[in-house]
Each structure stands twice: as C-alpha cells, then as structure tokens.
Subunit: 321 residues, 2 copies
C-alpha cells in the first residue's frame, strides 16, 4: 500500500466521535476537502529513511495533518475567506462559533494521536518538536496579520514570517519522522532544515505563481495577491530594488481597490517585469531549494533510501514558469 | 508561601515571550483580570494529599489555568460577551482574530508547561487526563450551544452538559494533582469524582445565585439568566414539574425579549417560587455535594492531610441564600 493510502486508511479507522455532531462534522468536512497530505507524507518518508515499519508512525503523521487543518480552519475565519479548495469554508458553511470550536477540538485530537506513539520517550520528544512548531505557526500567523497594517516590512521579516507560518511545519513533520524512527539527533536536525528551507522555497514559488502561474494549472485566481494588496516577496523586492518612480507607482497601486482588476494586475505585473523581479524571486527560491537539498545529502543513510523523499519534494517544485 | 502565592510566582517566572506583542499581550491581559485560580489550587491541594514538595506540580497547575483561560477567551467570542470580570473581553479590547489566535497559543502553552513534569511517564499520564478533559470541555461547550436552539432539553442532558463544560476540569485538575504525586490509581479516581461532582454542585449553585443571589455579593446582574432566556436547571425543573398553566406561562416568558427586565425577572421568579423550584435545586445541589465528599473520604490518606482541600472546596459553597 502506498503512503497516501496508508494515511487514508488510518484516518478511516480513527474517526472523530459521532457526537456532538455539530462539533465533529466540520472536522470531517475540512479533512475531506482534499489537500495533498504533504505534511503527513513527509513525516512517513522521513521515518522510512531509517526504518521500514512505517505504520508505527501513522498516528504522528495524522496528528500533523490535523494540526494543519486546525490552523486552516482558524486562519479562514481570520482572513474572512469564503472558499477553500472551491468549497465553502467551515465558518461560511456553518458559522464562526463552529469554526472556532471545531478547530479547537481538532488541535486537541492532534495531541491525542501524537501521544499514541511508543515508547513513551519517543512520544515526549515528538511532543516537544510539535509544541515548538505549533507555537511558531501561531507567531507566523500573527506576523502576517501585523504586516497588513505596516508599510515598512523588510524582506528579512517577510522571510521570517513565511518560515514560521508555513515552512517550520514541513520541517517539523520531517524531524518528527526521524524522531519516531529514533534516528540520530544530527539526522533529525538535517531533516528539519531540509523541510524548513524547502518550505521557504515553496512559499516563494507560490508568490511567483500567484502572479505568473498558468491559470489552467494554478487553481486560484491569478493575480489574487495583487488585488488584495498583499506584501508578497515580489512587492517587497520591488520596493527595495526599483527606481524611485516605479517604487512610487507600486505604492500607489497598493492603496487602490480592485475596481478594475485586469488593469491593476497588468500594471503591477508590468512594474515587476520592468525591474526584473521574477528572475530575482526565482533565484532566491533556487537558493533556498539548493540549501535544502544539501541538508538531505547530509543525512547519514544510503542514497537509495532517500529517493522517495527527494522525489516527493522535487515534485512540489514547478520547473516551468 | 501559600499556594496562591506560589502560583503567582511561578507565572511571573514563566512569562509568555515578548514578541509578537499582539499575540502574547492578550494572554497576559486575560490572566491579570483576576479569577480565583481555583483549578490550579485544586491541583496543588490534590498533590499535597500525598507529597509535600508541591513546587514540582506547579507547571501542571499553571497548564490547567492556561487551559481555563484559553477556553474563556474563545467562549467569550462565541457568546459575544463584552465584559469579563468587569473588564473588556479580549475580542472586544482587540478583535475576534486576536481572540482566536491568542487563545490558540495559550492552549499550546498549556501543553508546553504540562510536559515539563518529570519523570516522563508522569508527564504522559497527565497528558492523557488533560486530553480527555480538554475534549470534554469542547463537547460541553457544543452541547450548551446546541441547547440554545432546542426546546426539548431534558434535565439529564443539562446535567451532562454542565458536567462536561465546567465540572470535569475541576475533577481533572484534582486527578492530575494525584498523578503528579504518583498516587494510587484508585485515589486519583476518587479525587476526579470529588471534583466532578463538586463541580456539578457549584454550577447548580450558580444557577440558583443568578436568580436568587444577593446583588451586593453576586458580582453579576441578578436575573441575567432569565433575561437571556437561558435554559438553566431552574427553568428545566419548572418545565418538568410545574402544572400546565405555569409551564405555559414560563414557555411564553422564554419567548419574550428583555424590554421590561424587572417585570420579567419578577414574573419568572414568582413562577419558580410558586412551584418550589429553589428548594428542589438546593436539594439536588446538596445531593451532588454530599456524593462528592464521599469520594474525598474514600481517598486513602490521613484525614489531617485532607483539611486544606476540604476547606477550599467548602469555601466555594455558599451557605445562605
């Protein structure tokens, strides 16, 4: 059975309680909206570098997926997002109260699954990593919120924000896979760094795809970040490197609404293009990606064992823009 | 140093991180609104039944207090409550996003503190109880929400709701005190039952005080439950036991607004009085209280060690109505 099937089977055998229905139904709902199960798969692939009995790590893998979905459920309320993967978000389909409380109980169930890993000292080491990462995800979300009302966000701060908000959870999942397998500390560390740096690269890629992606493949509205005046890496790089005129033009666009969406997206994209921003973002993404893979190389197991993990992460990187 | 001072000192020595300020400041804020620290004190008193080195249990006691405040922060959003202990609630002073995210990180910090208890197997046993109780608190909150839109809530269901929403956390705190002290399982169980049953009795007492309390001593607006059409034990008991006419009158009042608050409170109180409801609630409260103390008696330690815990719980029971 492949890893995604194992995850799916585990989920089916470990359902939420039936009652109270209004509490648990939204948990099932968000989990069935799809998603690529990247984080639990990463945890299992991290485990498989060291050991073959991968089912042992399934409760930890599922815990990471539950945590991810808890954070999505609460973030969707904070962002007032009507849709997720083309379906109504929990707080839209039900209400804000449901989004809060069902999210809370999902977080608690993440801990419940995590604790099922044996022996006890492994469960505790997992909990330590999980607590650290969970705290950082909240801190990253707060930084993202803070940035909305700030006009002086630096690129370093932006990188730190995406690191906390999205990248450390991928790093943490890989580290937890190594911890489950009781791998050496140095290998667990390299796997964490691999995931963290790859996670930053993915986010830079996402910033780029939001503006330059193929509308057929991207799934979301291309230009959405521009229309929402989001301070993405592209925007911050332009503000940092462009000549005064272009910088001022961009600052003006960041203050406008989305009355003429096509005009706005085209104008901002032209500003990016004229200043060579896409190439700079791509180079930065490439830098994080390469650094990430150096850490995978440093893990002390046979290269053949790394093939599946390397492949999964490479598949998440888009080659053509 | 007395227990409350120990808790306070522990909190001062274990502050939240300084940054991001917008994430952690609301956590400090809600914790300084006061509150009697009943749950952490109960945990420490449970521990002291068996051992004297009470500082060992402080991280667990603080974890329970953080959990309690996390649930208050989120419940206040769900209840759209403007005030807590006379001060603005977090989502009022800041906003809903802050209330959600700061609550989330408080819950995660509860887990972080819990894990600091040594040895590892004790931390794991604490986590098991904590996860069970935390899940039940969410389930109780959901039942409370569900009851708002139901007209057929039974007394058994109401008792189950208050048990989950408020009583199990007191029981869990006492059980965790016993677990920290590595007390026998049977003693841990009796302490859980003591707290659970006393917790139900406190809630019945609260229902009674909300309508019949001394306005000078009660702190909240007397009659608040009546004005909010809450299905308290008093209401459910009236609907169950009163003659048809009174029952229909009460059902009518439950459909009205609070345009004439004094008239409404007086009328509903008269309905309660005429049907002997206060005495019934008091008897029910007394029943739970007595059953609770039987479990304290069953704990296998010298009676002298139980004095402080007994006193604290007795002090929470009001003698005069």
């Amino acid at each position: 059975m492949n890893l995604l099937d194992r995850i799916q089977t585990f989920a089916q055998h470990n359902p939420f309680p039936a009652l109270p229905q209004a509490l648990y139904e939204p948990c099932d709902y968000i989990l069935t909206l799809g998603g690529k199960r990247i984080r639990p798969a990463a945890l299992l692939l991290g485990y498989q570098l060291f050991r073959d009995d991968v089912d042992r790590a399934l409760p930890a893998a599922w815990a990471v997926e539950l945590f991810h979905n808890f954070s999505l459920m609460h973030d969707d309320i904070m962002d007032a997002a009507p849709l997720r993967r083309g379906q109504p978000t929990v707080h839209t389909k039900w209400n804000t109260t449901t989004g809060i409380l069902s999210g809370d109980v999902m977080l608690i169930f993440a801990y419940r699954h995590l604790m099922r890993i044996e022996p006890a000292e492994v469960a505790l080491s997992l909990l330590k990593t999980f607590n650290r990462v969970a705290t950082e995800v909240c801190e990253g979300q707060q930084m993202d919120i803070d940035f909305e009302t700030r006009s002086d966000v630096s690129i370093a701060e932006y990188l730190r924000m995406i690191e906390l908000k999205t990248a450390v959870l991928l790093g943490g999942a890989l580290e937890m896979g190594a911890l489950c397998a009781q791998a050496p500390t140095s290998d667990a560390h390299h796997l964490y760094e691999f995931g963290r740096l790859a996670g930053i690269a993915f986010q830079l890629q996402d910033d780029l795809l939001d503006t330059y992606g193929d509308p057929q493949k991207f799934g979301k509205q291309v230009g959405g970040d521009i229309l929402q005046n989001k301070k993405t890496f592209l925007v911050l790089k332009t503000l940092e490197t462009a000549a005064t005129g272009d910088r001022q033009d961009l600052e003006q666009w960041l203050k406008t609404g989305a009355e003429n969406p096509t005009e706005k997206v085209d104008a901002v994209r032209t500003l990016f293009d004229r200043n060579g921003i896409p190439a700079m973002v791509l180079a930065e993404k490439q830098r994080f990606q390469e650094e990430a893979f150096h850490h995978l190389e440093a893990v002390q197991v046979a290269e053949t064992r790394k093939a599946a993990l390397r492949q999964m992460v490479m598949d998440l990187f888009v080659r053509d823009f």
